[in-house]
């Protein structure tokens, strides 16, 4: 029961910590709350009227929600790039960053689940999907695999940092024998979640744009570029606004991870483009639509031609040590890389899968205001969750939050 008492005190302390802060912090949280409320209002309209309030149709049946879901699975998976060196390779200088990375993974996973639920036509019967209560089409449906791996990953990423923080909160050292097995498992699990999510699309013979063997590996490469890029940006913000110490060495090491992943991603992009455009077949039409437009329909052109140059520019800049070690350039690169991959692995991947349709019909997709509202709301939810987690974690790590300190 003493543990329960500690837990209760932890919850109380963390509530205390997250409701107190600077003016800027309060403004930030208020803004997030406002966006979340707007998102909830938009979602209530969607619940009431049905998915017809979105831009999706029978021709393009997945849109902004699934795009963001796909991208965020990658962000969540990227936490592993920090977990591995810290817990497994015993490279201690990542330890400060790893809690942040895991917090980011939790926030990203919550966003993923929220996007999936937002995309469902019948959220009231989602219990049909709960193993044991409903009918779970395992192992045939890749979606059931995804449900399992995402929730498992969420569990791992909540329990490991929670254990560590719980021990630190009591002023004790965390036991390696407890969390290292979990950390090692989560390394494999992270690769799993992203590969399974790629298989979700890769396994559809109906959509040649997705049905290629490179999709899974490319998902991993782009995820390990975009995820750590986001972590660098977040660490930069935390460094600026809190006393939490993050060494330059840590950021530089993560930057190295980003660079290598971005380079591999670029090589795979070249390979993909070569295959689609050197000897174009009937199956290359989606790629043509994405990059050049088809029959005058070219809604995605501005997006993809923003993403590709940003991607190339960031990768080239990061490749030079001198530029990468300049933090201003690094942050800029991370930002544009994140945007580029969000476009490319988001709707740059999902929407062209449906265009042209199975019989060549080209019907374009434009998200509606309500859809964008819900999407922004979910992103705000993620940012909110992350801020709460990070504030508590930083409080504990800095020694500000301690059991029975008062």
């Amino acid at each position: 029961m003493s543990r329960l008492r500690v837990f209760r005190s932890l919850v109380k302390d963390s509530l205390d910590a997250i409701t107190h802060g600077s003016k800027r912090y309060h403004l930030w949280m208020a803004a997030l709350t406002f966006i979340m409320l707007v998102g909830m209002y938009c979602y209530s309209i969607q619940l009431d009227e049905g998915l017809s309030v979105t831009g999706m149709t029978d021709r393009v049946s997945w849109g902004l929600y699934i795009s963001n879901f796909t991208f965020l699975v990658g962000v969540a998976a990227a936490a592993v790039m920090l977990v591995m060196p810290t817990y497994v390779l015993k490279d201690v200088d990542f330890k400060q960053a790893v809690l942040i990375g895991e917090g980011l993974a939790v926030a990203a996973l919550i966003m993923c689940l929220a996007f999936v639920v937002a995309d469902m036509g019948g959220p009231s019967v989602l219990w049909h999907m709960i193993p044991g209560i409903g009918v779970f089409n395992f192992p045939n449906s890749m979606l059931t695999w995804d449900v399992l791996v995402l929730n498992g990953y969420l569990f791992l990423n909540i329990t490991i940092p929670f254990y560590i923080l719980f021990r630190h909160y009591q002023g004790k050292e965390s036991k390696k024998s407890v969390y290292v097995p979990g950390a090692i498992l989560s390394v494999f699990w992270a690769v799993g979640i992203h590969l399974v999510t790629a298989f979700l699309y890769q396994g559809l013979q109906a959509r040649p744009f997705w049905n290629n063997a490179l999709l899974g590996p490319r998902f991993l490469a782009s995820a390990f570029a975009a995820g750590p890029a986001l972590i660098i940006l977040v660490l930069a913000i935390i460094r600026n606004f809190t006393e939490f110490k993050i060494q330059d060495k840590t950021i530089k090491k993560i930057a190295m991870v980003v660079t290598v992943a971005a380079q591999i991603n670029l090589i795979m992009l070249v390979s993909e483009l070569f295959k689609e455009f050197y000897a174009p077949t009937h199956h290359s039409e989606s790629a043509y639509y994405l990059f050049f437009g088809l029959h005058g329909k070219n809604a995605l052109l501005p997006w993809i031609w923003t993403a590709i140059p940003l991607n190339v520019l960031a990768t080239v800049l990061l490749t030079f040590h001198k530029l990468r070690n300049n933090f201003k350039v690094l942050y800029f690169c991370c930002f544009i890389l994140f945007i580029a991959i969000w476009i490319e692995k988001g709707f740059g991947l999902i929407v062209p899968g449906f265009i042209p349709g199975p019989y060549g019909k080209i019907a374009e997709y434009t998200p509606t205001g309500i859809e964008i509202g819900v999407t922004l709301g979910i992103w705000a939810l993620g940012a909110f969750v992350f801020t709460v987690l990070a504030k508590t974690a930083i409080g504990i790590e800095l020694g500000k939050l301690r059991y029975k300190k008062q």
């Binding site: 049905g50 017809s52 469902m120 036509g121 019967v125 699309y201 559809l204 013979q205 899968g353």
Partner: protein, 376 residues
């Protein structure tokens, strides 16, 4: 469910047969080298299937709805937990159904809604449970609109496998099939949902779907064009069925690929998986004017759908299982559409398959559609 050996006429166009249990060491796939041996093999196959089903579904086969959910072995603690949770949820329903103010009908409606919300997957229901849910739905419709519908829960018949053939030479693009389909199957009128698409193709270009128009609005037949229709092809190896996370869509024993509208969660994965554009989604609440509702319904077919679920062509299950042709076949003024039992050697569809040069769309995908095209 279906045994591996195909019982119907099959065009072997290069798709490799699934491991046939019928072949034996002598290499023959039919007849058998030593009579009794193959017979015995057959029997053990059946036994094997039975055992496999028992092992995989086990108790669930005879249970449904609440039973699927609640009639499970559990220890006292989890039972207590579940009881508490369900008591909390149930309290709301009880307060509605026990309310003195609301009338008997409102209570009955609440009771039906409650039972419908928490019923099981139709695919796993026993015949009795199927009947019960159908009765509830009929009663619910009566309470809501005052009209009586007839709804069937007829299962697939033995030795029936439905197939469809489409004569490209005959189709003139009149779209009578499309209209008949919409009327028969109570499709949403607001969004103008149509299961059938008629593609208008230019003569001399062959089957170039990307240049075809599936949404034309002019006098037909247009000069220099020919027409062909597509709809759900009721594949024998349907990709949509595999991907469904909750088994809300499946292949019936008579070959129909159907959807349990009440079990579908609306994720639209099946829609992405279908290579033939055969599935439709209810993006908003489907509406059919009361006067136009077809009251002759089937649970898996044309009963009223709700918002946020998938639906599709069922070869008019309410008609085909009653021995009639689907509405599109009956409505076609040119006789371009042929429907029948592939296992009946005297059926028209068999005659077409045996005497015409038939082909199917996108056969390279291995989906094995039961929808053939041919020309005179």
């Amino acid at each position: 469910m279906s045994s591996n050996n195909k019982k119907w006429f099959s065009l072997n166009l290069g798709t490799k047969p699934k491991a046939s249990n019928k072949s034996c060491s002598c290499g023959k796939t039919s007849g058998g080298c030593g009579g009794a041996h193959s017979e015995q093999q057959q029997l053990s196959d059946e036994e094997f299937a039975k055992a496999a089903i028992n092992a995989s579904i086990g108790e669930e086969r005879v249970k449904d709805g609440f039973d699927q959910v609640f009639d499970v072995k559990m220890d006292r603690r989890s039972a207590f937990k579940k009881l508490t949770a369900s008591l909390l949820i149930g309290a709301g329903a009880v307060s509605t159904s026990c309310s003195v103010i609301s009338g008997d009908e409102a209570k009955e409606k609440a009771q039906i809604d409650w039972e419908e919300q928490f019923k099981g997957n139709y695919k796993l229901m026993t015949d009795k449970e199927k009947e019960a849910t159908v009765n509830r739905l009929v009663r619910s419709y009566q309470l809501r609109t005052g009209k009586t519908i007839s709804m069937s829960s007829k299962n697939a018949e033995e030795d029936v496998l439905f197939g469809y053939a489409f004569n490209i030479s005959k189709c003139q693009g009149y779209m009578d099939c499309v209209n008949a389909c919409v009327e028969e199957n109570n499709q949403d009128r607001n969004s103008q949902m149509q299961y059938i698409r008629i593609h208008e193709m230019k003569d001399g270009n062959g089957f170039s779907f990307d240049e075809a128009d599936d949404n034309y609005y002019h006098e037909v037949p247009a000069e220099g064009h020919f027409y062909m229709g597509t709809q759900c092809f009721h594949c024998d190896n349907p990709p949509c069925v595999n991907v469904c996370p909750v088994q809300a869509t499946w292949r019936e024993d008579d070959g129909l690929v159907v959807v349990d509208y009440d079990w579908c969660v609306g994720c639209r994965y099946c829609m992405a998986a279908c290579p033939y554009d055969g599935r439709r989604f209810n993006w908003s609440k489907p509406e059919v004017p009361e006067a136009e509702v077809n009251h002759n319904q089937h649970y898996l077919g044309n009963r009223m759908r709700k918002k946020g679920v998938m639906e599709k062509c069922t070869f008019c299950v309410q008609r085909s299982r009653a021995g009639k042709n689907p509405a599109c076949v009956e409505a076609c003024p040119t006789g371009a559409r042929i429907f029948g039992n592939l296992l009946d050697p005297n059926s028209t569809i068999r005659w077409v398959l045996e005497n015409k040069k038939v082909f199917r769309l996108k056969e390279d995908l291995g989906t094995e559609p039961k929808f053939w095209y041919f020309m005179d």
